[in-house]
């Protein structure tokens, strides 16, 4: 194991997004706060999704998790595609770094960016509503698993992508719709039964539902089901990601 090499690659990935934190941290936090401002002020008086839970309290955990996953995906995918396009990926490929070390460094940095954005949104949301905390361990567990899953997905998509356009396409046509239509803004029980059924096939639903349970102690799905589904998706995505890195898919011909 090249421990120091792994640490260096992880630091480099951290450094990369911290150097442009206005774009990578501040901008997503502001975007989510705008959602919060608009939706909570428009809908707060009208909707109570769970008994005794205000709409803002329901919405904020969903928004936090949505921003965590979107930013985790953006971090690993944009870093890797940029290295591929600029050609500087070669420096990592020439170094004695294994697929696992590469995976841990990239996913680790994606988790960190997700957490930074998530914590930022949480702190800013204090001005709107004081969120309860049912279980900090569940909140952290889902935040880490969700961002790791999307970080690994980002690596897979960037390995496959041949240009920025492919990343943008995947982000806009898969990641954003799947995270929007996953119960961030509503309980899936308020949907027609067909769309309820569809939601059960969306991994984002379980990530967000489980994460929200960590705050509110109530959720649409059973917390254990959400945890196992999220864990399973994380494992599947990680195995695919590690396999693609090991065979050098589109990076080592």
């Amino acid at each position: 194991m090249n421990g120091y090499g792994l640490y260096t690659l992880f630091s480099k990935e951290m450094w990369r997004f911290l150097k442009v934190s206005t774009q990578t941290l501040l901008a997503p936090i502001v975007t989510v706060l705008l959602y919060l401002l608009v939706f909570s002020s428009v809908l707060s008086g009208n909707i109570e999704i769970y008994d005794g839970v205000s709409y803002a309290s329901f919405l904020i955990p969903g928004l936090i998790m949505m921003s965590i996953t979107q930013n985790a995906f953006a971090n690993s995918s944009s870093s890797l595609i940029q290295s591929k396009m600029m050609g500087n990926l070669v420096f990592m490929l020439l170094a004695p770094l294994s697929s696992l070390e590469f995976y841990i460094a990239f996913v680790g940095a994606a988790i960190m960016r997700g957490l930074f954005v998530g914590i930022g949104v949480w702190l800013a949301s204090i001005f709107f509503v004081q969120l309860p905390v049912h279980s900090f361990a569940i909140i952290l567990g889902f935040a880490v698993l969700g961002s790791a899953m999307l970080g690994a997905t980002g690596i897979i998509v960037a390995l496959w992508a041949e240009k920025w356009d492919h990343i943008a396409g995947f982000t806009n046509f898969v990641i954003i719709p799947a995270s929007f239509l996953s119960g961030v803004f509503y309980s899936i029980y308020s949907l027609p039964s067909f769309w309820q059924q569809v939601s059960y096939f969306n991994p984002f639903f379980y990530i967000i539902d489980g994460f929200r349970y960590g705050f509110l102690g109530v959720s649409d799905a059973n917390i254990m089901t959400s945890f196992l589904v999220t864990l399973s998706f994380f494992i599947i995505v990680s195995v695919v990601c590690l396999w693609l890195l090991e065979i050098g898919y589109k990076i080592r011909e």
Partner: protein, 304 residues
């Protein structure tokens, strides 16, 4: 032990058979030139050495470490200066060297060497400059620095002087020579045959994915059966028919004849000129350069 051992390496890219059983060794401590026209397979071979491309069959080892099975040791033994001017625009020169050194497992203890590298490459005053602010020549020097952070015993320079100015080219030549003097094995691919001729002690010529020549430089040069006879004529003249097939060039009264070492003698040529009443004011002979050897070997292949 050979610095690099290449055994029966084949590489197929769909229809293209890019390397056809390449098999040779690069001796330790040599300054090795890998030559060949565009598309000959030089970069593919280097990329297989570096682990950037996988061979379809065959194997390569660096200092005895197989590039596939013992890839960590093989990569620790090899420093590659890529052909393209690639860089990470997020970082400064020093940060990039630190990162590269870290990837190879070196921490703070390597700082002294990194500073020395900056000094040798005349980059000390640019240590804290962002990569995108550097000129092309400076970026090229940073690439060399990145290849040397882990003090690899084998250094591959893939077309290092393509498109660089004369001053930088000279600096790169001197630097490569210094590395070689310090005991590094150097592998150089280049389009400039003059470069290989003045630097390399052993040369392989690749053409269409095959090694068409592999020898010490002197032996390789000796293989070419011609030498050149250069004459400055007094006046422009018609060259006698008997010499026409030997004319390599004839411009501004400067006549260059290509003579076969065994079949043509200088005295016969001079006699023919005298009979045709052609006077010359100066003459000298010239041994063939790598360019002639290269052209004859690669053309022979092309027409075979």
């Amino acid at each position: 032990m050979a610095a690099i051992r290449i055994q029966q390496v084949h590489k197929h890219y769909k229809q293209l058979h890019a390397l056809k059983g390449v098999d040779f060794e690069i001796p330790e401590g040599s300054f090795f030139g890998l030559l060949g026209p565009n598309g000959a397979g030089k970069s593919t071979l280097i990329n297989i050495m570096a682990g950037l491309v996988k061979a379809t069959s065959g194997s390569i080892s660096i200092k005895g470490h197989d590039v596939r099975k013992q890839w960590r040791q093989a990569r620790q033994s090899l420093g590659v200066v890529p052909q393209e001017l690639v860089y990470d625009p997020f970082f400064t020169v020093k940060e990039l060297l630190r990162l590269q050194s870290g990837y190879f497992g070196f921490g703070r203890e390597n700082e002294v060497w990194l500073d020395e590298l900056l000094e040798i490459l005349s980059l000390s005053d640019k240590a804290n400059t962002n990569m995108f602010e550097l000129s092309g020549g400076m970026k090229r020097r940073v690439l060399i620095g990145q290849a040397l952070v882990h003090k690899p015993p084998v250094v591959v320079l893939d077309e290092p002087t393509a498109g660089v100015d004369i001053e930088l080219r000279k600096m790169l030549w001197d630097f490569a020579t210094q590395l070689h003097d310090k005991g590094h094995t150097i592998v150089l691919t280049t389009h400039y045959l003059e470069e290989a001729e003045s630097l390399c002690d052993r040369i392989a010529i690749l053409n269409h994915g095959e090694v068409v020549a592999l020898d010490n430089k002197q032996a390789l040069l000796g293989r070419y059966p011609f030498r050149l006879l250069c004459l400055s004529l007094e006046n422009h003249a018609d060259i006698p028919t008997s010499l026409q097939d030997k004319v390599q060039s004839f411009e501004n009264n400067q006549l260059v004849l290509r003579l076969h070492r065994e079949h043509d003698t200088v005295s016969d040529v001079l006699e023919s000129l005298r009979s045709a009443q052609i006077n010359f004011v100066d003459l000298h002979t010239q041994e063939p350069g790598l360019e002639e050897v290269f052209m004859s070997l690669t053309n022979k292949e092309a027409t075979a």
